[in-house]
């Protein structure tokens, strides 16, 4: 049976500590940034961004929102545009996969992604002497000139599959496949699981009244959901979902 892996990120629990970003970088062999790198040229497959209600003093409200590949389910914007099939959706998991070895580096997929969740390797990957020993042997290092993004720690999915196969099982144990960011989050803000399984807690959370998806009206059916009970966050982050059409305005 096909799975649809996804997340529900609780913004009320996210403290913006950045553990998910660090865990993601360590797990996926993301090199340290070069001195010239900027927030717009770095590699951050998981990026925690700050939200603000724009007010001052006692009225100021701030929150954090982790942004990663939304694993779009429907008309996945980056898949259809790639000229050489370096992006594909794994039908058995619903994970949007990037094949860096086939990537031309044209960056059309980055232009197509409305969530800005794709990153280009502007520099050669380099690690300080000795640090290369800490690289994860299960994940390929990407070269300069190719695009990369979150693949929900697909190497961990492989490992879980190998473990299941070794035990003579056809299905993985959900506890064996947990992305690094989910594992690292100290507040348990990120819930991960199979959205196709109605009994999975992530599926229940995704359907709760306080859950929403970014740019839902674009119609790409992202598998990364958010939830919050704070109205101002919902208003800010979800405005394109809730906003009435121009015709309704009239």
């Amino acid at each position: 049976m096909s799975a649809r892996y996804g997340m529900v990120i609780d913004l009320d629990r996210c403290t913006g500590c950045g553990s998910c970003m660090v865990a993601c970088a360590a797990e996926n062999n993301v090199p340290p940034p070069v001195p010239r790198a900027t927030p717009r040229t770095g590699l951050t497959p998981m990026l925690v961004r700050k939200l603000s209600n724009g007010k001052d003093g006692a009225d100021l409200r701030e929150a954090f929102i982790p942004i990663t590949c939304m694993q779009c389910e429907h008309e996945t914007p980056c898949v259809s545009v790639c000229p050489q099939q370096a992006v594909e959706v794994d039908k058995s998991t619903g994970i949007v996969m990037q094949i860096p070895q086939r990537c031309l580096g044209c960056r059309y997929c980055m232009t197509a992604c409305p969530y800005h969740a794709r990153y280009f390797n502007w520099w050669d990957p380099q690690w300080p002497p000795g640090m290369e020993k800490s690289l994860n042997p299960g994940v390929s290092v990407r070269m300069r000139g190719v695009v990369e993004k979150c693949n929900l720690c697909h190497a961990r999915f492989h490992t879980a599959n190998e473990k299941a196969a070794a035990a003579g099982k056809t299905q993985i144990d959900p506890a064996d496949y947990v992305p690094a960011c989910v594992e690292a989050c100290p507040t348990g803000a990120i819930l991960f699981g199979d959205l196709a399984d109605a009994n999975d807690p992530v599926s229940t959370a995704a359907h709760s009244p306080d859950a929403f998806r970014l740019l839902a009206r674009i119609g790409t059916e992202p598998k990364i959901h958010y939830r919050t009970t704070q109205a101002w966050i919902r208003t800010l982050a979800d405005k394109n979902s809730d906003r009435p059409t121009e015709a309704q305005h009239v």
């Binding site: 790639c82 059309y108 800005h116 015709a247």
Partner: protein, 420 residues
């Protein structure tokens, strides 16, 4: 010009008036410098990577893509003039045909050269042919631009082989004769390929569901921008040809084509531009009132950011759309060279602005609700690389003008030209 100063006169058509060799070399010198600077800048990008540019993860496309789209539109004069002469039998445009081929060839080959610098892994360019994603507009772009470049080269070869010295080689003469017979077929194939190429460049943006600013509904698999890009390219191609020919006349100090050719090109350009502006207006209306609101984006999401406000929309429609169309169509202005050239220049500027809006403004505008309007300034390497392409175009055109019969069909204009 005295024949004694023409050290390369053996290569120049007999009777053709050309500048002295020294003067020609002096003309080429600054362009050669610019070309070398461009090659150096491109070399830096190849060696150190695209970190030499000011593009980033948010501005993943920059100045190169904008200017690529622009010069491809300008180069449309090549396929469209071939189409007019050989398919629609507008023989009075034949005098500018060879010139149009050179313009098209330099525009297309220059664009491909920049694209090779622009991609992160240029050595993998062949992957698109080996693992083509038939759903991608960029695949269509790649196939069409590659095939059309081949067609342009095949169209250019007969022009090159008509050089005074090359014609002395019998096998070249036979080859040129045989190839020349194919030119009408090549014109048809070129029109077909370039038609799809221009369209797929528009489709490149029109299919971006995640960018409501450019996403459009369409017909079948093609968004409306597919057709609008074709229309705007064929509208502006003849105008660009007018400007290039007028510039060549200014530089050489000679009349190269009859004014009637200019007027005809201008009229065609003007009519097509008027049709384009009308179609664009309908498209904009549908987009702003139906397509865009349906995904939660309204005009204020696009036009609230200075300087890319609604002024751009107005500028592309009226002073750089309707106005040049009128200048090129109305007999009073079309008969006057100054107004005609103004109209052609404004038409080209309008399409430049349109391509800028699609490539740069699209990426500057926020998509996520908590995003900000972004800014980007190209690095000197980006500017120099493109400067190199401009220099390459000028050099190839200058050499072609000097040694090849670019305007030879204009009997009685480029006087006493003999190819023997």
């Amino acid at each position: 010009m005295s024949e004694t100063l023409l050290f390369d006169r053996r290569w120049i058509a007999r009777g053709a008036e050309r500048a002295s060799t020294l003067r020609f070399l002096l003309w080429l010198f600054p362009w050669m410098l610019l070309l070398l600077l461009g090659i150096y800048a491109a070399g830096l990008c190849f060696y150190y990577g695209l970190n030499q540019t000011n593009m980033d993860n948010r501005f993943a496309f920059g100045m190169w893509i904008f200017l690529d789209l622009a010069i491809i539109a300008m180069g449309a004069g090549a396929f469209f003039t071939g189409f007019l002469v050989y398919i629609l039998k507008q023989k009075d445009l034949k005098p500018v045909l060879n010139s149009a081929v050179v313009v098209g060839l330099t525009c297309y080959s220059g664009a491909i050269a920049v694209l090779m610098v622009d991609v992160g892994q240029p050595l993998r360019a062949w992957f698109t042919f080996w693992y083509p994603n038939t759903h991608s507009m960029l695949t269509e772009v790649t196939f069409c631009i590659s095939c059309y470049l081949l067609v342009l080269i095949l169209e250019y070869i007969p022009v090159v082989l008509r050089n005074r010295q090359l014609r002395k080689i019998p096998s070249f003469l036979v080859f040129e004769h045989q190839l020349h017979k194919l030119v009408p077929v090549l014109a048809g194939v070129g029109a077909f390929l370039s038609f799809f190429h221009q369209g797929s460049l528009g489709g490149l943006y029109g299919v971006l569901r995640g960018r409501p600013f450019v996403y459009r509904q369409g017909f079948g698999i093609w968004p409306s921008t597919f057709f609008l890009f074709i229309l705007s390219a064929v509208a502006v191609g003849p105008s660009f040809l007018i400007l290039v020919t007028a510039a060549a006349e200014k530089v050489t100090g000679r009349q190269l084509v009859q004014p009637t050719v200019f007027r005809k090109l201008g009229f065609i350009s003007g009519v097509l531009l008027a049709v384009y502006v009308a179609a664009k207006a309908v498209d904009t209306y549908v987009w702003l009132n139906i397509t865009s609101p349906s995904v939660g984006f309204g005009p204020s999401d696009y036009y609230s950011y200075w300087p890319m406000s609604s002024t751009f929309l107005f500028a592309a429609t009226v002073p750089l759309g309707l106005l040049p169309a009128l200048l090129l169509i109305l007999p009073y202005t079309a008969r006057r060279r100054g107004w005609l050239l103004t109209g052609a220049a404004l038409a080209c500027a309008g399409v430049l602005l349109n391509r800028f809006v699609f490539t740069v403004q699209t990426l500057a505008l926020p998509t996520l609700p908590f995003d900000e309007f972004l800014r980007y300034t190209p690095s000197w390497q980006e500017v120099a690389t493109f400067g190199g392409v401009i220099a390459y175009g000028v050099i190839v055109y200058s050499l072609s003008y000097r040694y090849l019969p670019l305007f030879e069909a204009a009997k009685g204009v480029d006087k006493n030209v003999s190819l023997d």
